[in-house]
Symmetry: C2
């Protein structure tokens, strides 16, 4: 079951309880970092996630609160003598601005960095491995910004051990069964594949929508996802402020979740003005009025889905 | 009484309890920041120190763990609409490496930044205001590095109100008394100045010696200071490692404090390997064996001197 760890749920200013944006998505023990705000290393220590598990970092946009943690994080990984290459998926400006700093502060960098230049304005696949496909979700913000859709690939079905044993099917045949073949025994009797397997869990989908004004354009791209993280910088009474700064309110995030028929909504990127438990509960209530299966994300919270 | 707040006492890797190097020295309600490691804003929030109180930042050297907090901190101050100019005292490379980032991430910076290029290899005065004089302390590290000596200027004496009242001295005469004048009354009787004043507190001295191998050259520069912060990356058994990386051990920091006849020693910049209370107490004991009035600094600790 995929697991999301929220490392930072605050907006640009942050506060004592909420660091800047950063998350770790764990899909079958592959760890993807999403945004990388200042202090991400401290958060990883607290969340007990090892830095060397992370090979891909996805940056939604180049506002500091989403990427100021990169340089210190890279520096630390080099001090820890990381060898595996690291890929950073981000707008092409990032490489230009970050490379001189890396060269200055980490002249003996112990690993290579690959910048995958993405176009935040386009919906396209930007990454694929054996387990996951990642595509961009263009968002509406003051600079080119995108969210990311993580789609788990289908898992192989499980072998139905009991049935296979009843038919004395040799282990060497299991890979063929997993591929979908029926089994024909020595006497020519056919056992249908569907009897020999147990379906794997349904592959999951996670959508991360960082800074964005309300935009219904994203709805088809995040339709039916199992988990949606959507920003909610303000409560609904601040709608004009949200509009001005191209952010969303509680109500807007809930509406997007409802219209996209997502299973669960986590709202984050809260303005630093929301400091107390009461603030958080008030905003949570506002969201749940429209979309009941919603929560305000808290730093270091883990969500399995 | 000056007050030092330790914001980060960890070395390069830091750990959950120890952020990277950063401190605030408060001299008569003037706040000087010394080094600026990652996450300094979070630490200021916890220490309840307002960012707009800080007008001068002193950077000991350009290793990331001493300056990665600058860009995020500058960005935040701009978002908070700071107007007062900020002066950063550092090696000239800092301006070159930081300016393009500031221009990119803070295109509408709300205040001006003045880079005071210092020469870390030279002992000289680099800053002076009404209350404080700051000079550099050249250190022995892998890149140009200096510590800083903060010398409080003498305060004006206090008026001895009781004696002044006995002699019916008008308030308008007080400034002259504070300047050292005697008082002559209408009958020509002279009251000596020393009877009319109470000496102010003795001005204090604080020396910050960040990353450095053991170096007796600094002893005359920090002689008799009221408070010395000296790095202690390792316990004494790691002396060869300390030598290799141009850092100091517990024993070496204590020896410097003893030979310089300082009043109190705070040791910091501990290796990330020292995580537990027992580790800290063991190192503290090692130091106190040689220099009894010593402590290992803890994040968010405040020391008045």
């Amino acid at each position: 079951m995929p697991e999301l760890t929220l490392l930072g749920t605050g907006s640009a200013l942050g506060n004592e309880h909420a660091f800047n944006s950063a998350q770790i998505l764990n899909i079958r023990e592959h760890f993807y970092m999403i945004d990388c705000g200042e202090g991400v290393q401290q958060r990883l220590l607290k969340a007990k996630i090892k830095t060397n598990r992370i090979n891909n970092i996805f940056i939604s946009h180049l506002h500091g609160d989403h990427c100021f943690g990169l340089l210190p994080f890279i520096s630390t990984m080099s001090m820890l003598n990381r060898r595996a290459p690291l890929t950073i998926h981000a707008h092409s400006d990032l490489g230009k601005i970050l490379t001189p700093q890396i060269n200055y502060f980490c002249p003996d960098l112990s690993f290579s960095i690959n910048f995958n230049h993405i176009n935040p304005r386009k919906n396209e696949i930007i990454f694929e491995d054996n387990h996951t496909i990642v595509s961009t979700i263009p968002l509406k913000h003051s600079i080119p910004t995108c969210g990311f859709l993580f789609e788990e690939k289908p898992r192989e079905p499980h072998i139905n051990k009991k049935v296979c044993d009843d038919w004395n099917i040799p282990l060497s045949y299991y890979p063929l069964i997993k591929e979908g073949h029926d089994y024909i025994d020595e006497e020519g009797k056919c056992v249908k594949n569907r009897l020999l397997i147990i379906d794997a869990e349904k592959p999951k989908k996670y959508a991360y929508c960082s800074d964005s004004a309300y935009s219904e354009k994203i709805i088809p791209l995040i339709q039916d996802v199992d988990l949606l993280y959507h920003e909610t910088t303000y409560e609904k009474s601040y709608i004009s402020r949200a509009k001005l700064f191209l952010h969303s309110t509680t109500e807007q995030a809930a509406l997007i979740a409802k219209k996209a028929n997502v299973k669960k909504l986590i709202a984050g990127h809260l303005s630093s003005r929301y400091k107390t438990k009461e603030d958080i509960l008030r905003l949570e209530k506002e969201i749940q009025t429209i979309f009941p299966n919603a929560q305000i994300g808290r730093d270091l919270q883990k969500i399995q889905f």
